[in-house]
Structures are given as structure tokens and as C-alpha cells.
Subunit: 138 residues, 2 copies
DNA sequence: GCTGAAAACGAACCGCT
DNA sequence: AGCGGTTCGTTTTCAGC
């Protein structure tokens, strides 16, 4: 379903999601029309989930970034996941295996903000916080 | 430096990084030229780090996704970080505070692949793995 | 699945305010 | 910072292979 040409296109779009079909075509020796058809297929089949940007949240006033894993108390999973969209601090969240049930990456203004967010998490389970010092890859 | 108009533009681009300047202009009541200038400023100042896509790695043959945190042995940090770009499994990696030094998200073909990757990590420190069950947000 | 051509649209550039 | 005009490139669509 996904051939080597598609894989090149995907890699280019991972590098720069605004690459034109014309330029993608130059990379894979196809016309813009053909590339367009392939990209459409990749979108429709869900291989390409989303076109997005990576943002420096520090410059938006969120100088603190952290991973928080939560061990939810029994019975709180459903209410927790239904609330997850309401917490703006959460950039991404995953259900995971192991000691904890949820892993999240959060952005926060400062220590006080972190404290209040942890307090919120304590309503549902047992959170463990690791501050992010720097991004080492991608 | 970043006003409320910029914030709207950023949010739109997070939703769809291929939104045209023309359409962004409609959202914030500015001409395409003005939006272009703002976006350029956001790029140059590093607020917008990258235009990228989110991909369904399962459909690319990597059916297993995991978070791995590593507690590096003393002295191995530098060699580890210099090698980080050579491991294709690692989608993103961060230096973090706490018990472990490195947090990564990795994609893998299957259990055997996971095993060999963990073996690789064992050369540098003590890895702990949590499989990703599903993405709950964003 | 890929191509090529036409029409529509958007991006880039620049002078102006 | 924002605007509008020109030019140029890109996207879209579609008939044809």
C-alpha cells in the first residue's frame, strides 16, 4: 500500500510539511499531479494524520515543560480521559502500559502553575513529574 | 513580541500547517501580505520551529510504539547523545530531571525489534519501557 | 497510476503609507 | 505593521493513455 516513493514523500513532509507538490515531484521524478494523488491517498488512508507545526512554547510564555505520568485510582480513567481536552496545559497524552496509566507532556508558566496542575492531577491519581531540560532529537 | 493575532495564526497552523496565508488572513482580518510578514517573523524568531506531519507509524510497518526512559551510567551521556541520530527507532528524545536522564518515544516493528533495541540501550544505562496503547490527546 | 494542459489560486516581491 | 498591484509558481481539474 505504501511504496518506497510514498516513503520519500512522507520523509520530505516530515522535514517540511509545506513542501509543494511540484518540489516533491522533483524529488521522486513524478509530475505534481501524480504526487498530489499519492498524498491524497496517504491522507485518506490515515497514514498522514495531520499537518502541524512545532512551536517554542517558552516564547509563548510557557517557560516550563514537563512529562507527567499518572497512576490513576481505580474507576477514574473514564472521567479523566473525558476531561483531558479541557486542560490546556496538556500538549499530548497517551495511555501506556506499566506502573502508570497515562503519560503526558505539559507546558506551564512557572512553578506555581506546575503546583496547581499537580494538585488537579491528585484528584484522579498519583502523578510523577519530570521536567524537560532540552530536546535532544527531532 | 507575540500578540493575540499571532496566537490565532499559531493555533490555526497547529491544526493545519498547510493553511494558506489567504485563509489565515480571513481568520484574523488581515491581507495575505500582512499574514505572510507575521509568519515570517514567527519563523525567524524561532517561535515556529518546524512544519511537519503526524504519521501513523503502524501503517508504515511499525506496529509497536513505546516510551523508553533511560538512566544512563556515569560518563555515557555524551556518547549516547551523539549516537541518538543514528537510531531510526527514536522519534523524539528529551533530557529530563529525576530518576532517569533521557526520555524517548520509539517506533518498532515487533517484540523482537524491541528486544534488540533494549539490548542496545543496555550498553549505555538502564532502560525502562512503557508500551503506548493509544493516543488520548492531540 | 501517471501525464500534460488550462484555469484558478496563492505566494513572493516591492513600493507606498 | 499593514496594504495593494504585478509577476511568477503552484494547485486543481480533467481528458487521455
Amino acid at each position: 500500500m505504501v511504496d518506497s516513493t510514498d516513503r520519500i514523500i512522507i520523509k520530505c513532509l516530515e522535514e517540511n510539511a509545506r513542501t509543494s507538490f511540484a518540489e516533491l515531484g522533483r524529488m521522486v521524478s513524478l509530475t505534481p499531479s501524480s504526487v498530489r494523488e499519492r498524498v491524497k491517498r496517504l491522507e485518506d488512508s490515515g497514514v498522514i494524520r495531520k499537518y502541524t507545526i512545532e512551536v517554542d512554547s517558552a516564547q509563548l510564555g510557557f517557560g516550563m515543560e514537563a512529562f507527567i505520568v499518572v497512576k490513576l485510582r481505580s474507576g477514574t480513567l473514564k472521567s479523566f480521559t473525558s476531561l483531558i481536552d479541557t486542560w490546556d496545559e496538556i500538549q499530548e497524552a497517551y495511555r501506556i502500559t506499566g506502573e502508570h496509566n497515562i503519560q503526558m507532556r505539559v507546558v506551564l508558566k512557572d512553578q506555581l502553575h506546575l503546583q496547581s496542575f499537580i494538585d488537579e492531577m491528585l484528584k484522579y491519581g498519583d502523578p510523577t513529574t519530570s521536567l524537560i531540560l532540552s530536546k535532544v532529537k527531532a
